[in-house]
């Protein structure tokens, strides 16, 4: 049996809505339940894909797991050790093993530092080493991510999108990461370049045994790269299981809609369930109309087809994530 590298138990993250003084003083100060009761585990050398529309809490999970932000509740267990309450000092040895590949590399890479300096700095953070050895390691690293050596003397703004991603990945490897959160690592890239980055991630996983939390709203890439996929809707995991099953035999109405919205699929075959109405502000928790029970109900075609059963909106019956079988869970009162 492979070891579990990361386990998350009942994770929650609530943000206080930024507002004016009055709203922060008032008793009804608004809370954004960005992530609620999320549990999952990732095995060593495996990838878990995390999908869902903008604002559903994917980035929040990624950041909380890496302790870049504090959870409101729940436990984070890395490599058998509960790291939730570790002080920054105690967390240091874990920090280098858990890294993030950022969505916005223009913000994450110092534009005034040469690529060489960026990578050398990263390699030195945890293991100071002599220059000769450093250069040898740098060469190895650059070869690992297929970056042209000539690019080492460039500054980040001079690199193409694909090259920037390579540098981002190289930097994470430089500190000695074993587990990577890849937050939309291919967004804004052309398919041709996206393919290079995905291949690189797959290849590094095969050769270095890395584990990934792969966040993306590109469903095809998620299915391709992930062993397991979790589907989120407004802060909750609504379905989780093996990638192929999630994509082709989903049990949650939302998962079904997500995958049948793939434009390619749509133009070739007709989807079984019609598109639900577009939320006026999708993915954002609506305080004017807080949803009781299942958060997907207002947009759920099954809910409407079944004549709006009361259980779906019963505040005491929020559908729990239940086992469909050993490796598949769904949170719905009327699974497909």
């Amino acid at each position: 049996m492979t070891a579990t590298i990361l386990e998350v138990q009942n994770l929650a993250k609530h943000y206080r809505q930024p507002g004016n003084l009055w709203s922060s003083l008032s008793a009804r100060s608004r809370i954004i339940p960005a992530v609620d009761d999320v549990s999952f585990y990732i095995k060593a050398n495996e990838t878990m894909g995390l999908v869902g529309e903008t604002g559903c809490g994917k980035t929040t999970i990624g950041r909380t797991v890496l302790k870049l932000t504090r959870p409101s509740a729940g436990r984070i267990i890395f490599d058998g050790q509960d790291v939730t309450d570790l002080s920054p000092r105690q967390f240091r040895p874990y920090r280098r093993q858990m890294q993030m590949i950022f969505q916005d590399l223009d913000a994450a890479l110092n534009p005034k530092m040469r690529i060489k300096a960026i990578l050398k700095e990263a390699m030195q953070v945890h293991h100071p080493m002599k220059n000769g050895r450093l250069d040898a390691r740098l060469e190895e690293l650059v070869a690992k991510v297929n970056l042209k050596k000539s690019k080492l003397t460039n500054y980040p703004p001079e690199l193409s999108g694909g090259e920037k991603r390579r540098v981002g990945i190289a930097r994470a490897l430089a500190v000695g990461a074993r587990f990577l959160v890849a937050d939309e690592p291919t967004s804004a890239l052309d398919v041709s370049i996206q393919a290079q980055v995905v291949n690189l991630l797959k290849q590094l996983q095969a050769t270095l045994g890395l584990s990934y939390l792969f966040i993306s709203h590109d469903l095809r890439l998620v299915e391709l790269i992930s062993h397991k996929v979790a589907v989120m809707y407004l802060g909750r995991i609504v379905e989780m299981g093996l990638a192929g099953r999630i994509a082709r035999k989903p049990h949650h109405p939302y998962t079904h809609i997500l995958w049948s919205s793939l434009v390619e699929k749509k133009s070739r075959e007709t989807a079984g369930i019609p598109n639900p109405p577009e939320a006026s502000t999708p993915g954002v928790f609506d305080f004017q109309r807080p949803v009781h029970g299942c958060r997907f109900a207002p947009r759920c075609p099954v809910y409407h087809d079944k004549g709006q059963p009361a259980i779906c909106t019963d505040p005491d019956a929020t559908p729990p994530l239940r086992d469909v079988d050993a490796s598949h869970k769904v949170a719905c009162h009327f699974p497909l």
Binding site: Q196, S261, K266, S280
Partner: protein
């Protein structure tokens, strides 16, 4: 087919000059395109290939020197035809070396005046454009309904406020915005990305344009919202018989909406023709088109969890266009019979079947080569 294209672009060149590198960025380099009435032309290609600059050239919105330097952009409206680049030649002197543009002298101010005159009553009116980022394209402080009503009053015969408001509500409904009466009063930031994109489409339609240019209308939206916008654009195409230039780097979007397709790379058209011929399983693809199609994960590959077929290298740097085929440094279809040609001579865009044209030596081997000047002559026919 014998039809008068609504929009016909020939030999369009739009360059920028990089002072630090002392070289031209050949963003649009001898491009020719045409769109028939009621049809959608899809323009695809990786980012940086010159799609947006092509659109901005049509709209007369190119910012940067020297900008548009040659070509013609013919618009045929019910009121007659006009060349939007009429008089350009008077303000530009081009020096060629070996057929390639090496020096440009342009009287930018004089050209600006002429272009503005050419485009009066056309920009935003006969040709309307929707952009990738609707929130930037709309005024954040004015209710979307009022912005649409304003577009109606500015660009159509409707002058009265009440009537304009009614038209605006009509367009909001036309783009399937739920409860238009309510949404009329929303500011752009009060709408979700998908709704905002709809509002911008409504604003463009409100001018009742002859040609609609949509630049990456679905890029950056979530998958479900993307498919909603694609559905909407398909419906509008059927209902309004719009003539559309649809720009996207997403081949699936182009495939679902376009009648004809042009594939752009490094500032030039590599292949164009009916959507079936260019993007279908015909085996007559340009190596670049084929590589783009191959890099999209298909169901078989996804199931087998294999590696994707990436295109090696990066998008062409149009400051350093190679002497031969622009795609040569990344092409995996070069064989020994054509290697020298691929490396040294730029292939022409040749017709391989009714309206299906390809720029590749694999399709042109039998034809005698007669230099770069011939390439441009062929584009013009």
């Amino acid at each position: 087919m014998n039809y008068l294209p609504i929009l016909k672009i020939e030999d369009l060149c739009t360059y920028f000059y990089s002072r630090s590198k002392q070289a031209f960025i050949r963003s649009v380099d001898h491009v020719g395109l045409q769109i028939a009435k009621g049809q959608t032309l899809g323009l695809v290609g990786e980012s940086g290939s010159g799609k947006s600059v092509t659109a901005l050239s049509i709209m007369g919105l190119v910012r940067g020197e020297p900008g548009v330097i040659s070509g013609s952009i013919e618009l045929n409206t019910p009121e007659g035809g006009i060349n939007l680049l009429q008089g350009l030649g008077l303000h530009v002197r081009i020096h060629r070396d070996n057929g390639r543009i090496m020096q440009v002298a342009k009287d930018a101010d004089a050209w600006e005046k002429t272009a503005d005159r050419n485009l009066r009553g056309i920009r935003g009116k006969q040709i309307a454009m929707i952009f990738q980022d609707p929130k930037n394209a709309m005024n954040p402080f004015v209710a979307v309904g009022r912005q649409i009503a304003e577009a109606v009053r500015l660009n159509t015969a409707v002058a009265g406020h009440r009537e304009a408001r009614a038209r605006a509500l009509h367009w909001l409904a036309q783009v399937r915005i739920d409860s238009p009466q309510l949404r009329y009063h929303n500011n752009p930031h009060g709408l979700s990305g998908g709704m905002c994109q709809r509002a911008m489409i409504a604003m463009a339609l409100a001018a009742e344009p002859v040609v609609l240019i949509a630049d990456e209308p679905t890029t950056g939206l979530d998958a479900t919202i993307q498919s909603h916008i694609v559905d909407l654009m398909g419906d509008l195409k059927d209902e309004l018989a719009l003539t559309t230039l649809l720009i996207s780097h997403d081949i699936d979007v182009i495939r679902s909406l376009a009648d004809t397709v042009a594939v752009m790379y490094g500032g030039t058209i590599m292949q164009q023709g009916p959507v079936q011929a260019v993007l279908g399983d015909t085996g007559t693809q340009h190596p670049y088109t084929a590589a783009l199609l191959d890099s999209i994960p298909d169901q078989r590959l996804i199931r087998s969890k294999g590696y994707l077929q990436a295109i090696r290298g990066d998008v062409l740097d149009t400051m350093n266009i190679p002497a031969g085929c622009r795609f040569y440094p990344r092409c995996n279809k070069v064989d020994d019979t054509i290697r020298a040609q691929c490396r040294d001579q730029e292939p022409a865009l040749i017709n391989i079947a009714g309206g299906h044209r390809v720029r590749c030596w694999r399709f042109a081997q039998a034809r005698p080569y007669s230099g770069r000047a011939a390439v441009h002559a062929m584009q013009r026919n």
